[in-house]
């Protein structure tokens, strides 16, 4: 924890986005997490993604539960809406908010404890229902706030800081999200912003349930030899299947041409995802193959990262429920109380 506020001065040559903001304008309060926490890098990546997409801060709602990860919304987008809910209950609060006003961008920030243990059911159902959101899990494999017990995402056989071996099977949230029908699924690493920032941008632009599992080393309790969520382990075992560039109609197209095939995927809203294949055989449109690929590599102790699955024609909860498009708070008495005639019609339909 740092006692002083981050100075307001910024680099005189900082670029500004279409709204005239610098990336500093997307910051929140100074982090109170441990020095070196992977979560702070995810915070920085969210800031960078929102800056690059020129998102108006008041159009974002940040919703979180409990845990180190769920504290982070305080550290980015200081001018956005926020709701810090109870443990594991972020998905239902987010679902409710989304139903009430579909015009905002919903950013659900959670951790492995919040989503894979106490909130596992909530996580599953929000994904099932295809809520239009960005669901980010800041996954460090330990309960940091209670000093480093294994969480449900810790790999079987990995060692705690005190040398205890984990005997429980781990939950792979990406596999669950794929199975439950998330339409944008990605995994990344807090130590690789070049990969993470475009994945967050793609998730924000995606008009459906987007799920991002970000491995985020806990420097205090899970960055030792024997951990499978440490900086060194993830760097050594990172199997990136592709690299993503998000191309919005507004920003000029800029792809750095490295070797590897580039596939441009157009999403429903017109944004384009330029995917550079790093693994030739990997097809991010084949859900079943993706699930197999994940399992095979997980068995080898490898961490598969990149954009793992994307459905370019997603449907969301509002479409399923045929809800009204306008935010509920903009509806007037005339729409909410359409009168006795309409009531009579509805009643007649039920007879």
């Amino acid at each position: 924890m740092t006692y002083i506020a981050k100075p307001k001065f910024h680099h005189p040559g900082l670029p500004t986005n279409e709204l005239g903001y610098t990336h500093r304008d997307y910051e929140g309060k100074i982090s109170t997490l441990c020095a070196g926490c992977g979560h702070d890098s995810i915070t920085a990546s969210i800031i960078e993604a929102c800056f690059e997409l020129s998102i108006e801060p008041h159009r974002v709602a940040k919703i979180s539960g409990i845990g180190c990860s769920s504290k982070t919304p305080d550290y980015f987008l200081g001018n956005s809406h926020g709701f810090n809910s109870v443990h594991g209950r972020m998905p239902s609060v987010l679902t409710g908010a989304n139903l009430a006003n579909r015009e905002l961008i919903y950013l659900g920030v959670s951790g492995d404890g919040d989503s894979a243990s106490i909130g596992f059911g909530q996580f599953a159902h929000a994904i099932r229902r295809a809520v239009n959101m960005v669901y980010i899990v800041e996954n460090n494999g330990v309960y940091g706030l209670t000093k480093g017990q294994f969480s449900a995402t810790a790999d079987r056989g990995s060692k705690s800081k005190r040398g205890v071996v984990n005997t429980d099977s781990s939950i792979d949230l990406v596999a669950i999200a794929l199975q439950l029908g998330a339409t944008y699924v990605a995994r990344s690493f807090s130590g690789d912003k070049r990969q993470l920032v475009p994945l967050i941008k793609g998730a924000i632009e995606h008009q459906g349930a987007a799920f991002l599992d970000v491995i985020s080393p806990c420097v205090a309790f899970n960055n030792h030899v024997g951990s499978t969520k440490s900086f060194d382990y993830v760097r050594e075992h990172n199997e990136a299947v592709n690299r993503l560039d998000v191309i919005t109609g507004r920003a000029p197209i800029k792809i750095d041409y490295e070797p590897g095939k580039v596939e441009v995927v157009e999403q429903h809203d017109g944004t384009k995802l330029a995917l550079r294949k790093l693994k030739d055989e990997y097809d991010p449109h084949d859900r079943l193959a993706a699930m197999n690929f994940l399992q095979q590599h997980a068995a080898k102790g490898q961490v598969v990262t990149g954009l793992l699955y994307v459905d370019t024609e997603p449907e969301d909860l509002h479409a399923h429920l045929n809800t009204v498009e306008a935010p509920l708070n903009t509806l007037s008495e005339r729409e909410l109380c359409p009168g006795a005639g309409v009531l009579e019609k509805i009643n007649a339909g039920l007879r």
Partner: protein
């Protein structure tokens, strides 16, 4: 790029922009912190060691440190370094007990110093404590040189000059006032072991245009006139005064005129306002006193009637640039302008003059009739004779004179000890971690967002009534503290150890100025294009460190680092540390007899 060698004394010295820019390399942030702590005497002594005249320079320095100040690149205005120096002088206790004592036994060497100005006094101050018998000659009865004769009292009161000259003269220095050296040959015959020439640039440049002779009674050479004012020989001037010239002397002339009866005083310069040699703040001070500055007017003729000056005729010009960017002033073709006046002060430059140095003494002169002086050792071609201050390379300023003095003293000490004067000693360098606790540092790392504070001025009506009334009142303790807090502590260095780094990016994310990048190595120009924030100031170094597990390098652009220490606070492994870097230039001294100051 090669990894940065942070052990080389110059690397971190350059990061301390103010100290690097100061000719005498005063440890600026160190004394500013002491001022913030209320330790004015300590702050004064640090200055006294480096620049010899803190009270005088705190009022009159040309302050090369301020344009260099990092704060000026971070926000608009630099820290008011110069006026903080004055604060140290104003609020210090009696520091006489902390000065060197006159030596009990001299070493038998006699040094003659010609001119009693800042250069000679600096030499004498360095040499006297080592046992040298220093004899200072000056044409005027009191020491101080141009500081006393050319700087008006409303900028620099006599009491301040007296105090700081006395600190030096009381070291056992023989001051021979009222004796003008007219022959170097004769002085050489007096068998001094070495001679230092610090006689300044005492001749004001003439303006030879029609009417100069006829109206001579009302046309005065600026520096001579200022000196006469200083000694009280002149106490009035006509109502309408024109000052010709755009340097600091011109500013002193016009402001003095306003106090001696000049009601309609104008400064008129040949070239543009922006190109004037005067420091921006001196121009501001003049304009504040109701003195207009007219530009692009070239004096053509003095008009006169019955031997009395009536005015000056000016040709109107404009600036034109040739393809090499050289400026030429060409007539606009408009009719000449006649500006009426009662007196003219000519302040169009100063020259050195050495009619008193015989040309057969082994002192070589160049084609501009200036002595050949080695800029490092200050030695002339006669091994016994050294130059410094304005006498060496033409008109500069006090702080350069002091810097020359230190170098010349070092050379004289080496020469008199039979050592090679080209063998210059290294500075003393001390680098100490400032970490006090997990998030505590022994300096104040909370960056003040305050804008530069103005120095309170005496009421204009009162100030213009009395030529001896000091215009600037100086910061009070409260303002001084606030201004001191603006200093970014650039001497507290960000020191990186690659082998400790786990590349978690915490420093990259927290840095408010986006100074830090972890990336693949490359050559400097290419690397600068890949940094997190634009890296356009190539005069500021990149700090490159390797030894990282991923094979990348850490690159820190030093340009606008706030030295807030957040990188070190957010570093989980201590790969970053904040370390105070104190560099102390070696002067003529015996390091064993006088141990160098260490980090406070």
């Amino acid at each position: 790029m090669q990894s940065t060698d942070i052990a080389a004394p110059d690397y971190f010295h350059k990061v301390v922009d103010c100290q690097w820019a100061c000719p005498a390399h005063t440890p600026v942030p160190e004394y500013i912190r002491l001022i913030a702590a209320g330790r004015y005497s300590d702050a004064y002594m640090i200055n006294w060691r480096s620049n010899v005249f803190p009270g005088i320079l705190g009022r009159t320095c040309d302050r090369p440190c301020e344009p260099a100040c990092r704060r000026g690149r971070v926000e608009k205005d630099p820290v008011a370094i110069c006026r903080l120096k004055r604060v140290a002088a104003d609020f210090k206790d009696d520091i006489r007990g902390r000065l060197p004592k006159p030596v009990a036994h001299r070493n038998g060497k006699r040094i003659a110093l010609i001119g009693g100005g800042p250069a000679s006094l600096a030499v004498a101050r360095d040499l006297a404590p080592l046992g040298y018998h220093c004899v200072v000659f000056d044409q005027d009865p009191k020491a101080g040189g141009m500081m006393r004769t050319q700087i008006p009292k409303f900028r620099l009161p006599d009491a301040v000059i007296d105090e700081e000259c006395d600190y030096i003269l009381n070291l056992g220095i023989e001051f021979v006032g009222g004796r003008r050296i007219d022959s170097m040959k004769a002085l050489l015959a007096e068998n001094f072991d070495a001679i230092f020439v610090g006689s300044g640039a005492p001749r004001g440049r003439e303006l030879d245009i029609p009417g100069r002779q006829e109206a001579a009674k009302n046309i005065h050479i600026g520096i001579d006139w200022l000196s006469s004012v200083s000694f009280g020989h002149i106490d009035k001037i006509g109502k309408r005064v024109i000052v010709l010239g755009g340097g600091n002397t011109a500013m002193d002339c016009c402001r003095s005129s306003r106090r001696l009866g000049g009601e309609d005083v104008k400064v008129i310069v040949r070239s543009g306002f922006e190109e004037m040699k005067a420091s921006p703040w001196e121009k501001e001070d003049a304009m504040h006193e109701g003195i207009p500055i007219l530009n692009y007017l070239v004096p053509k003729e003095f008009t006169h009637e019955n031997g009395r000056l009536t005015g000056v005729v000016f040709e109107k010009v404009k600036a034109e640039y040739d393809d090499k960017g050289r400026r030429k002033l060409v007539p606009t073709g408009e009719p000449d302008e006649h500006i009426a006046c009662d007196d003219v002060l000519v302040a169009v430059g100063q020259e050195n003059a050495f009619p008193w140095i015989e040309r057969d003494l082994g002192i070589e002169f160049d084609k501009w009739d200036m002595p050949k002086v080695d800029p490092k050792t200050m030695a002339s071609t006669n091994p016994k004779i050294f130059f410094g201050g304005d006498a060496a390379f033409g008109p500069k300023n006090i702080i350069w004179a002091v810097a020359h003095g230190h170098e010349a003293a070092l050379s004289i000490d080496k020469f008199c000890s039979g050592e090679d004067i080209n063998d210059r000693p290294q500075p003393m360098v001390d680098i100490v971690s400032q970490k006090m606790g997990i998030h505590e540092w022994s300096y104040d790392n909370d960056i003040s967002a305050d804008k530069r504070y103005r120095v309170p001025l005496r009421d204009k009506v009162v100030a213009l009534r009395d030529i001896k009334a000091e215009v600037e009142l100086g910061y009070d303790v409260e303002l001084a503290l606030k201004e001191a807090e603006r200093c970014l502590n650039c001497d507290v260095q960000t020191v990186f150890t690659g082998s400790l780094c786990i590349e978690c990016d915490a420093c990259v994310d927290i840095c408010p100025m986006d100074c830090i990048t972890f990336t693949d190595n490359g050559d400097e120009a290419e690397l600068r294009t890949r940094l997190k924030a634009p890296s356009r100031n190539v005069t500021q170094d990149l700090y490159v460190a390797d030894g990282l597990k991923t094979g990348r390098v850490m690159v820190k652009d030093e340009d606008v680092c706030l030295h807030c220490g957040l990188c070190a606070e957010r570093c989980p492994t201590g790969a970053w540390d904040m370390q105070k870097y104190l560099i102390d230039m070696t002067q003529a001294e015996d390091r064993c007899r006088a141990p160098a100051r260490s980090a406070a």
